[in-house]
């Protein structure tokens, strides 16, 4: 589609984190369940949906704080959603269809100009 190598790396990390969340939190590590990844190219963007069998995210986790982590006041983990939001142009978490939930990611070609 014409994305730069840098943007492709951003997308790879964001999709990997979304899949990890789907497996660990959505499907609760149940290896009989699967995760679907649907890529839909548009004229100036690529949309990716990562779908699992979980209830979805209710509320957004707090932005991770490295100082609190280094002070032992915050779990060192919990960077996944922050990374997803930082690396793509849009990230939305949705509940449904029944029994499923998904995250929708979008990266835009116009970011190439920045």
């Amino acid at each position: 589609m014409g994305f730069s190598p840098d943007r492709i790396e951003d997308l790879k990390t964001a999709v990997a984190e979304a899949c990890i969340n789907a497996i660990e939190h959505g499907n609760q590590m149940n290896d009989t369940l699967s995760v679907a990844v649907i890529l839909s190219p548009g004229e100036d963007h690529l949309e990716i949906k990562v779908i699992d069998d979980g209830a979805g995210i209710i509320g957004q986790p707090a932005t991770p704080d490295i100082d609190r982590k280094m002070a032992g006041e915050e779990d060192p983990r919990g960077m996944g959603i922050f990374l997803i939001q930082s690396l793509v142009d849009e990230a939305e978490w949705h509940q449904g269809p029944p029994g499923k939930s998904f995250v929708r990611l979008v990266i835009r070609l116009d970011k190439e100009k920045n």
């Binding site: 840098d6 490295i66 100082d67 982590k69 060192p76 983990r77 960077m79 990374l83 930082s86």
Partner: protein, 117 residues
């Protein structure tokens, strides 16, 4: 398919003349990396430590958490100075994004990392 993490330990000398322990990672850095990384780290001593990511092409958020855990122990508990080098440009950006650069110098290569210690 995830590449298992391997950790090799070697020594070097900083620009200041101080001895430096280098933990060189190979393979992916993810949740399964915790034991090999923290075991290798636990066997190190000395005040200056470098983490070499030149053999690593993939780090995820669980891997970053392990590095934060190591940094927390090394800098806060052990009073050690830690540097990181060899990250791909993408993961150098990710490490900076999550704030690791505040607690460990991020250098492009070993020579620059040794000079920065």
């Amino acid at each position: 398919m995830q590449a298992p993490t391997k950790v090799a330990t070697r020594t070097a000398t900083a620009a200041s003349g101080a001895p430096v322990t280098i933990l060189a990672f190979a393979g992916d850095i993810a949740s399964t990396s915790k034991e090999p990384i923290l075991e290798a780290y636990g066997a190190t001593d000395g005040q200056k430590l470098l983490l070499d990511f030149s053999g690593t092409e993939y780090v995820n958020s669980s891997g970053i958490a392990i590095i934060i855990q190591l940094l927390l122990d090394a800098t806060k508990t052990g009073g050690r100075t830690v540097g990181i080098f060899g990250l791909t440009p993408h993961f150098q950006k990710v490490f900076t994004m999550v704030g690791i650069g505040k607690y460990a110098t991020l250098s492009p290569n070993e020579a620059a990392a040794l000079a920065a210690l």
